[in-house]
């Protein structure tokens, strides 16, 4: 009973938040709604017993990703209303609904559900985080490392793309060069 109430409550909240996130014309509202939606999603993870995943969800999304977006938004004028496309609404809604319908038909079909066997079954009496750690560092070690490398690459890429004059080394420059650079900078950004 408690589970059902929690599910419906968070389902409503999540849908509402995400709906706001995709429809509002204020960028700040969208960002806040998205962050809230992410946190509400972590609630589902906790209900489903995936404690570690829920924690990761909060840390990564609400912490890191949202912070990144917030930094990104500092570049733009957030107070201005976001212009929307003047497209055909029917197509947008129709296509989305159709996709949803198809997915529901597929997941609700009884053909797949009958013969699924757990490859990595959960063990009783062991905490979720411990379990995840055991599987992740044994069976999924290589994907985990690959993911780590990917994150490193993404980080370097983000720094290089966003950073200014990353092709120059400030420490190896002599003073005169630094001065001319500053002069040029002033010309560009008075």
């Amino acid at each position: 009973m408690f589970e059902a109430i929690a599910f419906y409550l968070f389902a409503f909240l999540t849908i509402a938040m995400f709906y706001v996130a995709v429809t509002t014309s204020q960028a700040l509202y969208a960002l806040s709604a998205l962050a809230a939606g992410m946190i509400f999603i972590s609630a589902f993870f906790f209900i489903l017993g995936a404690d570690f995943l829920g924690a990761v969800q909060i840390v990564v999304y609400s912490g890191a990703v949202m912070a990144l977006y917030a930094f990104g938004m500092m570049f733009f004028d957030t107070t201005r209303e976001v212009k929307e496309k003047q497209g055909n609404k029917a197509i947008v809604i129709g296509l989305s609904s159709l996709a949803a319908l198809m997915v529901v038909v597929i997941v609700a079909a009884p053909i797949v559900g009958n013969n699924i066997e757990a490859i990595y079954p959960m063990t009783e009496g062991v905490g979720n985080t411990q379990e995840v750690g055991m599987i992740l560092f044994t069976k999924y070690l290589v994907p985990f490392e690959v993911a780590a490398v990917m994150l490193l690459v993404a980080m370097i890429a983000g720094i290089v793309l966003a950073g200014k004059k990353m092709d120059l080394s400030l420490t190896l420059m002599n003073d005169t060069d630094l001065m001319t650079m500053k002069e040029e900078d002033k010309k560009v950004h008075p």
């Binding site: 589970e3 059902a4 599910f7 849908i15 995400f18 709906y19 996130a21 995709v22 960028a27 960002l31 998205l34 939606g37 992410m38 999603i41 589902f44 489903l48 995936a50 995943l53 990761v56 969800q57 990564v60 999304y61 990703v65 990144l68 977006y69 990104g72 733009f76 976001v82 212009k83 496309k85 497209g87 609404k89 947008v92 809604i93 989305s96 996709a99 949803a100 997915v103 529901v104 997941v107 609700a108 699924i116 757990a118 490859i119 990595y120 079954p121 959960m122 379990e131 995840v132 992740l136 994907p143 993911a147 990917m150 993404a154 980080m155 890429a157 983000g158 290089v160 793309l161 966003a162």
Partner: protein, 101 residues
Amino acid sequence: MEIGLNHYLVLSTILFAIGLVGVMRRKNLLMLFFATEILLNSVNISFAAISHYYGDLTGQMFAFFVIAIAASEVAVGLGLLIVWHKKHNNIDLDNMSSMRG
């Protein structure tokens, strides 16, 4: 009232549809990124739910990697977005037509 797997799957589908609406109607690149986050998260719910109802950890593993990928996507995507903004001073999708054949 018992909450079953299908409840979660339908919820996930609804969120996915919302994400698709966002992907299609947003013109601002940053907003578009928000919509993609919604898509990824909706799928994560399905993974976690399936993992729970079948007693298998594989779903959680997948959700975990999806989060990793989403994080890197944001990092690279925002970097590119900033570069684009520096160059063109806007992040309007309609102006990105350099791929026109």
